[in-house]
């Protein structure tokens, strides 16, 4: 299998500046066909700008990329024929109904009138928005809108889909619905580039992850590799009695090592990757007479990943021009 057939995206040294700010500062990516690839990073890290270049909406200042074998600058039109965008990257029309949006896109993609109509009906039904098909999109709930957004991107099945923060701001139920749709799409053979701020989401969906910070890829690997390099997660414990925290701290230090006291006087946490060890630690706490209100074993948050990889937290460093771009894209 040659490289062209193997990779959906091959980018080398992509650079994009807005004024003085280097929003993207030499990004390399290699995404295999048929996989879900996560691009993880905080707001303003350069995720959106990178994807906008790959989707031919922005011209890179330097570097080059091939998407599905086509150069994103010289052969932009061929790229457009094979990819689709969602989320902040490309919105639906709020002043039309859900059905009209899908028919509009079907017609623009070359479907005949009847085919566009029946495809719209099929998607509305499958995505659970048939009841709201005739309502203006501006009256949709967040979850419905997100599903319509994805439906709009698959009116004609794309070979590569750019999925931008598909679950940001959604309740857990809507989030799971979106994740199910993504998994079904991948089963159908679509390659997905997923931009997200949640390690959890990348972990659930992606086969590979690139962590982006300040316009550069700072780490790359499978979700498992990434979590391992970060040093896993943490056991979070909340006590019934804040008075017992000193005792709890002593026990947890003995069991797990480094203990972190939370701002909440009844809460503390200790880094721990392994569920068995966490269970033992909790049992030890109970044996020593510490009353536990609740506990959980959490995955490292994006903050922890960033702290481990960069030494600085994932603060929102949004260059001004990027804000303008993102606002326009939103």
């Amino acid at each position: 299998m040659n490289a062209q057939a193997q990779f959906a995206i091959e980018a080398t040294g992509l650079v994009k500046s807005f004024g003085e700010t280097r929003a993207v500062d030499g990004v390399d990516l290699a995404v295999r066909r048929g996989s879900v690839y996560g691009v993880l990073g905080p707001n303003g890290a350069g995720k959106t700008t990178t994807v906008r270049m790959l989707a031919t909406l922005l011209r890179p200042d330097a570097g080059s990329a091939r998407v599905l074998g086509h150069d994103i600058v010289d052969d932009a039109d061929a790229v457009r024929g094979l990819v689709s965008l969602t989320g902040q990257l490309a919105s639906v029309d709020e002043d039309l109904t859900g059905r009209e949006n899908l028919i509009l896109l079907g017609r623009l993609l070359g479907l005949r009138r009847a085919a566009a109509k029946s495809r719209a009906a099929e998607l509305l039904e499958a995505f659970g928005i048939a009841d709201a098909a005739g309502r203006l999109v501006k009256h949709y709930s967040g979850g419905m809108r997100r599903r319509l957004d994805i439906a709009a991107s698959i009116v004609v099945t794309p070979e590569l889909m750019f999925l931008d923060e598909p679950t940001t701001g959604l309740d857990p139920r809507s989030r799971n619905q979106v994740w199910d749709i993504v998994r079904a799409l991948v089963e159908g053979g679509t390659t997905i580039l997923l931009c997200t701020q949640y390690l959890d989401e990348a972990d659930q969906l992606a086969d590979g992850i690139a962590v982006i910070d300040r316009g550069k890829v700072i780490a790359e690997g499978t979700p498992a590799q990434l979590k391992a390099s970060v040093g896993s997660g943490a056991l979070h414990v909340r006590l019934l009695e804040p008075d017992q925290r000193a005792e709890a701290e002593r026990v947890l230090t003995e069991e797990l090592g480094a203990v972190h006291l939370e701002p909440d006087p009844a809460a503390l946490s200790a880094s721990c990757a392994d569920a068995d060890r966490a269970a033992e630690a909790v049992a030890a706490l109970a044996r020593s007479g510490v009353a536990i209100a609740n506990f959980s074993l959490g995955q490292p948050s994006l903050d922890e990943v960033f702290l481990a990889l960069t030494g600085h937290p994932a603060e929102e460093q949004v260059p001004e021009d990027e804000i303008a771009t993102e606002e326009q894209a939103a």
Binding site: D95, L108, A126, A275, F295
Partner: protein, 282 residues
């Protein structure tokens, strides 16, 4: 109490099957032709009018007010009688109401940009100027509505054009051709400015004085010298003269030619400019 959500929501088998079917790869149709894409965008423009017909009020109420106010308040003073003034002002207000409508082309495009719909359209494999050309096609419906409202109002108030229905249609056609070219100016503005309101304000700041400093409401001969000179070369004056002429059946060929040449020049400059800004937008 694991924090990792491993359970997946239970979907009904029927819903699951519908989802699989919808997601199953569909054969990619041949690309839409340039014409078909533009017409589809025109359809989109008309859907918006259908959903929010109130937006037509903006562009029709103002001219109606102008006709009524100017005719009955100032008509007697300006032209000696309200009837005579109506004959003078009506073709002018027709020009005004249609040209005011062109600002909305820029506002609509800017709204698409700020809401991100433009990026979806730009990511499609369609003829690139299709959204722009299509939107202008859709706008022609508004021009027609604005023009028709004024004409009907005029007829109801006693306006009787000498050249009859044919003259009115010819005048309306000329005004709409000019409006098409002018709306490219506002689409350019729509891509340069940051918010729809800013486009609206800037647009009217330009079109409002230009319309008043023309012969729409008063004979230029009554004005001070320098102002008269300006009014006489204002393309809106020439367009108004041409429409009056067409409605009365005594249009000067040079007026019509100048209007068409101006329209061609505006389009030649601003259509490529709009298209360029649209393609290279970051």
């Amino acid at each position: 109490m694991s924090a990792t959500p491993t359970s997946r929501p239970v979907s009904a088998p029927a819903a699951e099957a519908a989802l699989r079917k919808a997601l199953a790869s569909t054969p990619r149709p041949p690309r839409a032709s340039a014409l078909s894409a533009a017409l589809t965008f025109g359809w989109r423009g008309m859907l918006k009018v259908k959903h929010v017909p109130e937006q037509l009020l903006d562009v029709t109420i103002t001219p109606v007010m102008f006709v009524l106010m100017f005719t009955y308040l100032f008509g007697g003073a300006i032209a000696g009688s309200t009837g005579e003034y109506l004959d003078y002002i009506l073709p002018g207000v027709l020009v005004m109401s249609v040209l005011f409508t062109t600002v909305y082309s820029g506002v609509a495009l800017n709204t698409d940009v700020t809401k991100g719909v433009v990026d979806r359209f730009r990511s499609l494999p369609t003829w690139r100027p299709a959204p722009l050309v299509g939107a202008l096609l859709g706008d022609s419906v508004r021009y027609l509505v604005a023009g028709t409202v004024i004409t009907v109002l005029g007829l109801a108030l006693g306006f009787r054009p000498g050249a009859g229905a044919l003259g009115v249609v010819a005048a309306m056609a000329l005004v709409i051709v000019f409006a098409f070219s002018l709306s490219w100016v506002f689409t350019t503005l729509g891509l340069l400015m940051r918010a729809p309101n800013a486009v609206m304000n800037a647009g009217f700041m330009g079109i409002f004085p230009l319309t008043f400093l023309s012969n729409v409401f008063v004979e230029p001969t009554t004005l001070p010298g320098p102002l008269e000179a300006f009014v006489n070369v204002n393309p809106i004056s020439i367009l108004t003269d041409a429409s009056r002429g067409l409605m009365e059946g005594n249009a000067a060929g040079t007026d019509v030619a100048i209007v068409l040449a101006t329209a061609a020049a505006l389009t030649a400059v601003f259509a490529p400019l709009t298209t360029h800004l649209y393609r290279t937008r970051s």
